[in-house]
């Protein structure tokens, strides 16, 4: 890891810590800032667990309500993103428990999901479908945490309570699968 990478990460963590301190005083602008900085990571992680756009959207919404309610009790340990994603994970798991399993969507339902989001390009659809349909749950979470949330492999290992070697091998296996699927899908 380069020193500049570490410095950027540390700066990001400081920014998130700052906003969380503001949110503890019910500062909604700070909540909006933190939403802009982290919503992709939160939504992506929820989607990786739930495999359902609507459920992931609900968890996205609820995560920020939880952050708003719980920021007063947040104690900075230099890992604000892990704190946020722990909330996301717990809410996602609660959702799973309540309906006991993921709700598998039919291709038509997926198309309806995509149509609801005008920013999603045809290439994005191929990437997301490959990720959601062809990777295992653990592979999906590992790939999203690393690619979207910016976690280092050892942070992913710590966050998911997995050995680093497991995370690395699953990650590389997932990337290999994605490479084949994207090539087959005509993504270059």
């Amino acid at each position: 890891m380069s020193m500049s990478g570490e410095a950027t990460e540390s700066k990001n963590a400081e920014r998130l810590d700052y906003y969380l301190a503001q949110i503890a005083n019910y500062d909604r602008e700070a909540l909006a800032e933190i939403y802009h900085l982290t919503s992709a990571a939160v939504f992506g992680f929820a989607l990786s667990i739930l495999k359902n756009m609507q459920d992931a959207e609900d968890v996205l919404h609820d995560t920020y309500l939880r952050i708003y309610a719980a920021a007063g009790g947040y104690k900075s340990m230099g890992k604000p993103m892990a704190w946020i994603l722990t909330i996301t994970r717990n809410l996602s798991l609660m959702k799973l428990r309540r309906r006991k399993k993921t709700v598998e969507l039919s291709p038509e339902e997926w198309n309806l999901s995509w149509d609801k989001h005008p920013n999603i390009t045809p290439e994005d659809r191929i990437v997301l479908m490959a990720c959601l349909e062809k990777l295992s749950a653990e592979e999906r979470q590992i790939v999203i945490l690393h690619s979207v949330s910016g976690f280092k492999h050892r942070e992913v290992a710590e966050f998911l309570s997995l050995p680093l070697s497991t995370v690395l091998s699953k990650y590389h296996r997932a990337i290999k699968k994605m490479r084949v699927l994207l090539t087959e899908g005509g993504v270059t």
Binding site: Y68, K75, T86, K116, N119, D124, L128, S161
Partner: protein, 506 residues
Amino acid sequence: MKESEIKGKIRTAVTHSVPDVLEAILSDCEKQKGNVIQMRAKNTRKQNWFNSLRALAAVFVLIVISTTGYSIYGARMVDAIVSFDVNPSLELKVNKNEKVLAATPLNEEGQLVIGNMDFKNIDLEVAVNALIGSMLKNGYINELENTILISVENKDAARGAALQAKLREEVSSLLRASSIEGAILSQSVSDDERIKVLAEANAITRGRAQVISQLVELDPSYDFEELNKLTINELNLLIGAKQLELANISSVGKASDKAYIGIEKAVEIALNHAKVDASAARDLETELDSDDGKLVYEIEFYANGREYEYEIDALSGEILSFEIEKDDDYQAAPSQPSQPSIAPIETEQPATSRMSAAEAREAVLKKFGGIIQKIEYNYDEKNPLYKGEALKDGYKVVFELNARTNSFKKWDVENDNSWDKFSQALPNLITMEQAANSVVEKSGKPNTFVQKIDFLWDDSEPIYQGEAFNRGVKYSFEIKADSGEFQKWDASTGDETWSEKYFNVR
């Protein structure tokens, strides 16, 4: 397609798919401020993307939710929250008349225990009877796992204490009736914001969060996350073994240790492994402890001029780690027979100069094979040491090498599979020795001392990273392990202590 491109495409696709719900969040926050959290248990906004059947199903779910007591709208009527932790964890909200308002499972096992039972408006006593019965029936409470944690949260301390005592008695008699010798921990849960956050962040009961939090306070070497991996019975065993006194917690009965191998067996495993006869072992110390989310027996003893330390999995009896060091206080009797050695400790030889970094690396590889993952020269209280870790197929060794006596102070071998992830790439990478040599070469001074060097495999970009010194100049470096190119080279001055420390080694 490169890995970085695939990562980029995933990032872009996810970013494009994030729905914009900020406005709804901010609006709900305004309503929420100072009130109960209004979670999105159902969609308040119109979501007509699926067919009408799904919409009807949602209505049905809402009806079920409101009739089975998951609703938060009855919060005003809640007088106490009672939680039960075994492995299943669940919470009951009760009113002043001790009628159940809601039953909430906190984990999958809790869900299974509750099953289809509807507790709304049921007497607490009846509900507890049914829940404990279900835990027994489903095998969650048995002679191997017999601890139940009962936690009561009530703003009226006296009422809370009375309810706690009543529940303890009730549960105790239910277990007796099922011929189970139970262990019951009961407590009042304080209105501590920190506990609430810990419970919420980990999706556990506040009662469990309070117990673990107290354990961490009493013994800061514990980590909350680690202890949270233990069952309540294991936590109870740990409390007993370490004789930890938790505030405001009442303990009845003895936690079952029948699932574990026991201290005697653990000692036998350690002695057999060390090839030491029980009669030759002295100053034997044993302790049940927790490590990496599991219970372990720690065994220490001295024999034949060595100090032995073992960590043994309390459940399986597997040796998780062991360490053998020279016993500095040992004076062998002339007639004492020698014991076979399983990990020879090198004889201390007086050394006039300190071992160089290259010699240290060579000594480790000669003894272990594989590769060195990291090695660092440093001082403990009195000795200059090379400390580090080396890896080979299936094993890792953590070592400490005395640079003055050239002897290994620590040699701790454990199972490890890290080797698998990069072993295939090794023939295409430069060695640590080559990396260290190029650092010396780049510094332009042959007596530059490579004080610390790590091999890092993260992110599939293998690098050698470390620090080197020459008098008062410090070099920080990163070398690409595949090409041997420097990707970082910083030289700084100003810390004169470095020259004192590293002048006579290289």
